[in-house]
């Protein structure tokens, strides 16, 4: 009973708010009328009676307001009303609304997108069990010149046996070319060889079937294969009966023992199949060397520091025991995540810094915009404060009013972010790791939303707080204009604009640095001519061509038939294209008879005779290889002119001797031009070439030069290969121009993104300058009128106004240059051909910003100088 009594009026008040209001109004009206009647009865005139009644009653609205505030659900209704009012304000001035929403959307969108990428690539834990206990182990080269080398199986075996800190150590070898035939088109699969314990080290198991058993690393038992989820779906239609089936890889039957889950992408997402790693016993006795990825799981009690110390001790022992192979060989341990993301970190950090700058600019711009609007309404706020509205009420209203704007902007921002992330993933160069884990994920949305809320609160509360700092009479008298309060608020806005410029300067300087770098990169002489060249990867099967001579014979036949194609001028082969990964070796060169010098890292490539002509690499002296430089002929080599000049200055290198990685001494028969093989931007090492008949590799790249567009060569060349061997897969077919482009794509992407950020920052900052200067002009119309009336000419007025904008821009730029210097330092890895403190870039960035700021303040200045004194003076 009691509850019903309480609940009925509450429901009534909530759901029939309007009716309650009407009833109350009627009741109050009755009260006044009854009082008037009573007054008349007391002998007053009807008019006085009514007035007295009204006076005694007080404001009808007050009574109504007080009753309403007292009603249940009042605050919720208030918020809804404020938000509706905010939406109406937006609709009333659409330009303001669009500007504000755009600012929020861009700021939130850019930061969310970049943060999503950084989170996905750099911060998200690896998809393995307890990923923070996983470490990579590297061999450190002599005298720290090579901080990370792939360890040998012998070393890894020693580490595994003697360490006290790891649960287990696993090995992987990434170069396994497996040609799948017999199930449709022949296809070359990217495979990796994994030690069976790798799965327990990473803590993953198969989605279907099982992973490798410990004894499957022995020859004879190793013909088992694990498929990636992608390959299983694409090639085998997701057939669950695949486990136990045999497939033909390189002509050998392999039993499929399992399918891995979709997120298993070790060592990277390109890998499609995994086979057991079989280690040659010769490697364990250090007679042969192969290089492996080494991953280990720390014991729960071990730390990285202890692991490093433990391995250092082992390395010392190994150095003493095997001086021949382990002299100056140290060990480096690092978190596995660190090894995965090292290469892309500088670019991502620069992007993160740039997008943070953009967000700060957006926040400042938004609060300036809202501030200008609040200034126009300062009279209203002050009156409401004076009439008894509480400060909390004003702040609540300010926040509620801005909510529709933030909500729309935020939603658009998330849309921009989603689109941006998708674009980033689509445009990303192949080298960016872990792209598969990049998505606008929940934590990222939470961070971006908190940024959004902070932006909104800061931007909306501060203008509302101005109202109660203001003195009531001055605000209401002249609406804030030309009063001290108005000036102080204008100062706040000027500081805001200067700050926007300060944050925009680093972005523009960064963009200038990267644009200048791109220009410098375009000027680099590569040493070869990529135009009119098409490239084709192929990996031959050793089951089909067991001996080196047979492999080389196949290559020769292939080159003959390709060269015979119409439109082909040269065709050659190399094991690895320039600008597409490296292969470094340690060689010795004979400096004088009997005296040799070790070169620990040199670019080394086996090639066919016509390779140099195909790529347009100039022959400086001597000759190229011939088909007679085969296993029976004398061992020969061709070196580049950088090696020739540095080792045998002022002598002919032809006839000198070089000791191959396998210990065979080869005679230099030719010298060719040095080329950019490692990267357009970096060129650390000299180059040496071997005859493909003396150093034969299963995986080669066919390089075909034509006399027309290289893309026209692709179909006929593939046909020619198929005609020769229908089971031979051809993959990664690209024109050489695209190979060069791809090697630069990460730089290009970073440069494009930072330039885009710079452009947005420039627009926002100039809108900021324009807004504040234009607002100041409107406020000071009367002053300009007076000045013009007193004899100032329009140029004086223009100068006055432009000076205001220029001051903000100059102060902001000065501060911004400090930030730009810091950002430049952080970008030293990203610039090329210019120093990170490049004066021209700093000047270009600053001057662009200053000129745009000048234009942005010149437009309102023109309006100020065109003031008609008579009109403005009268209008006041």
């Amino acid at each position: 009973m009691r509850i019903v009594h309480r609940i009925v009026p509450l429901l009534r008040a909530l759901f029939r708010s309007a009716r309650v209001d009407n009833e109350l109004a009627e009741e109050l009206r009755f009260h006044v009328e009854r009082e008037t009647e009573a007054n008349v009865a007391r002998g007053m005139s009807p008019e006085n009676a009514r007035r007295a009644a009204r006076l005694k009653f007080g404001s009808v609205d007050d009574a109504q307001e007080a009753s309403r505030d007292d009603r249940p659900g009042a605050s919720a209704r208030q918020i809804v009303r404020d938000m509706r009012f905010g939406a109406r304000l937006l609709a009333k001035s659409p330009a303001f609304g669009i500007a504000a929403i755009t600012i929020v959307a861009l700021g939130v969108g850019a930061v969310t997108a970049i943060f999503s990428v950084v989170y996905g690539v750099m911060l998200r834990p690896l998809p393995y069990r307890e990923p923070d206990r996983l470490v990579s182990i590297w061999t450190k080269g002599p005298a720290l010149t090579l901080p990370r080398m792939y360890p040998t199986a012998a070393d890894a075996g020693e580490w595994r046996r003697s360490n006290h800190v790891f649960e287990d150590i696993a090995l992987a070898r990434t170069s396994a070319n497996l040609n799948l035939v017999g199930e449709g088109e022949p296809e070359r699969l990217q495979g990796a060889r994994l030690s069976p314990n790798l799965f327990s080290v990473l803590g993953v198991s198969a989605a279907l079937g099982r992973t490798f058993a410990a004894d499957e690393e022995q020859v004879g038992r190793d013909q088992v294969v694990l498929l990636s989820d992608g390959l299983w779906q694409r090639r085998f239609g997701g057939d669950r009966a695949i486990v136990g089936r045999r497939i033909q890889l390189n002509g050998l039957p392999y039993t499929v023992i399992g399918v891995m889950p979709p997120d298993f992408q070790y060592p990277s997402r390109e890998f499609q199949v995994w086979v057991p790693l079989v280690i040659d016993p010769l490697e364990l006795t250090r007679q042969e060397t192969q290089n492996y990825l080494v991953v280990a799981r720390l014991k729960a009690t071990a730390t990285l520091t202890r692991a490093q110390a433990d391995l250092d001790a082992i390395a010392k022992r190994l150095e003493a025991s095997y001086p021949l192979t382990n002299r100056d060989r140290g060990v480096a341990v690092e978190p596995m995540l660190e090894s995965t993301v090292r290469d892309v970190r500088p670019a991502l950090i620069a992007l993160l810094a740039a997008s943070s700058c953009l967000l700060l600019i957006a926040c400042l711009n938004l609060s300036n915009l809202l501030g200008a609007r609040a200034a126009a309404r300062s009279g209203e706020f002050a009156v409401r404060l004076a009439l008894g509205a509480s400060r909390g009420r004003l702040v609540a209203q300010a926040i509620a009013e801005v909510m529709p704007l933030l909500a729309i902007g935020g939603l658009l921002g998330i849309a921009v972010a989603t689109f941006g992330v998708r674009a980033f993933v689509a445009l990303s160069p192949p080298g960016v790791p872990r792209l598969e884990s990049v998505a606008v994920s929940v934590p990222v949305i939470l961070v971006s939303l908190s940024i959004l809320v902070m932006t909104g609160v800061v931007a909306s509360v501060i203008p509302a707080m101005h109202a109660w700092r203001a003195d009531f009479t001055t605000v209401t008298k002249d609406g804030g204009r030309s009063s001290t309060v108005g000036l102080r608020r204008a100062d706040v806005r000027r500081v805001g604009v200067a700050a926007q410029i300060a944050f925009a300067v680093p972005l523009l300087v960064g963009a200038s640095l990267l644009i200048r770098s791109s220009l410098k990169l375009a000027e680099v002489d590569l040493g070869f001519s990529p135009e009119r060249v098409a490239t084709f990867h192929l990996a031959v099967s050793r089951t089909k061509y067991p001996s080196d001579a047979q492999v080389a014979g196949f290559y020769e036949r292939l080159l003959q038939s390709v060269t015979a194609l119409p439109g082909v001028t040269h065709a050659g082969m190399v094991n690895r294209l320039p600008l597409a990964g490296n292969q470094t070796m340690s060689i010795k060169v004979e400096t004088a008879p009997g005296a040799a010098l070790e070169i620990s890292a040199i670019d080394s490539r086996p090639v066919t005779p016509d390779y140099f002509a195909s790529l347009g690499i100039a022959l400086r002296s001597g000759r190229s290889f011939t088909e007679r430089d085969d296993a029976l002929g004398a061992p020969v080599t061709v070196v580049d002119d950088r090696l020739a000049r540095s080792i045998w200055p002022r002598q002919d290198a032809v006839g000198k001797r070089v000791q191959r990685f396998d210990g065979v001494w080869c005679t230099v028969v030719g010298v060719v031009a040095h080329i950019h093989a490692h990267g357009v931007d970096v060129d650390p090492r000299p180059q040496v070439y071997w005859s493909y008949r003396q150093v034969t590799q299963d995986r080669m790249v066919l390089v075909v030069r034509g006399d027309g567009a290289p893309s026209a060569l692709i179909a006929p060349v593939i046909q020619a290969i198929r005609a020769l061997d229908p089971d031979q897969p051809v993959y990664d077919v690209r024109t050489m121009d695209i190979v060069v482009e791809r090697s630069l794509v990460q730089r290009r992407l970073t440069a494009a993104l930072i330039t885009a950020f710079g452009a947005i920052a420039l627009v926002l900052a100039s809108v900021g300058v324009y807004g504040v200067v234009a607002y100041g002009v409107v406020q000071r119309m009367r002053e300009f009128g007076i000045r013009l009336a007193l004899g100032a000419n329009s140029r004086d007025v223009t100068r006055l106004v432009v000076r205001e904008g220029a001051t903000m821009a100059l102060v902001g730029s000065a501060v911004g240059l400090v930030g730009a210097a810091a950002l430049g330092g952080a970008m030293s890895n990203l610039v090329f051909g210019v120093t990170s403190s490049d004066v021209a870039s700093f000047a270009a960035g600053t001057v662009t910003l200053l000129s745009v700021a000048a234009i942005a303040s010149y437009i309102p200045a023109r309006r100020a100088s065109a003031v008609d004194p008579a009109l403005t003076l009268r209008s006041e």
């Binding site: 009594h5 109350l24 009741e27 009755f30 009328e33 009574a63 007080a66 007292d70």
Partner: protein, 109 residues
């Protein structure tokens, strides 16, 4: 005439309930009645009368219905509900005890 005394917080509720305990009254009449009975010492501020009426109604101690006033107008008449009656009794006992205690202190201290 002395200045009208402000009503102690909470006593207005008591006075309203007391005034309508015997008969249903509309807002204006409640104010008049309180003023009359207190010999013009207590003047009910109209701005607090209606919020108080709404509060009481919401708490379920009074109820209201539209009726016709003495001057033939539509007016809202308030009456005490059963819980209101109990509440009034309790408040009244409290008030008696409190005022007796206060006057005792005022006389003897």
């Amino acid at each position: 005439m002395t200045k009208p005394t402000d009503l102690v917080q909470g006593t207005l509720d008591l006075l309203i309930m007391r005034t309508i305990a015997r008969e249903e009254l509309h807002g204006w009449a409640i104010a008049q009645r309180i003023q009359l009975l207190s010999k013009d010492v207590l003047q009910v501020n109209q701005g607090s009368l209606y919020p108080a009426l709404q509060r009481l109604e919401r708490q379920g101690w009074i109820a209201a219905d539209w009726g016709t006033s003495e001057n033939n107008r539509r007016a809202r008449f308030y009456r005490l509900t059963a819980p209101g009656k109990r509440r009034l009794e309790q408040e009244r006992a409290d008030w008696d005890r409190l005022s007796a205690a206060i006057s005792l202190v005022m006389r003897t201290a």
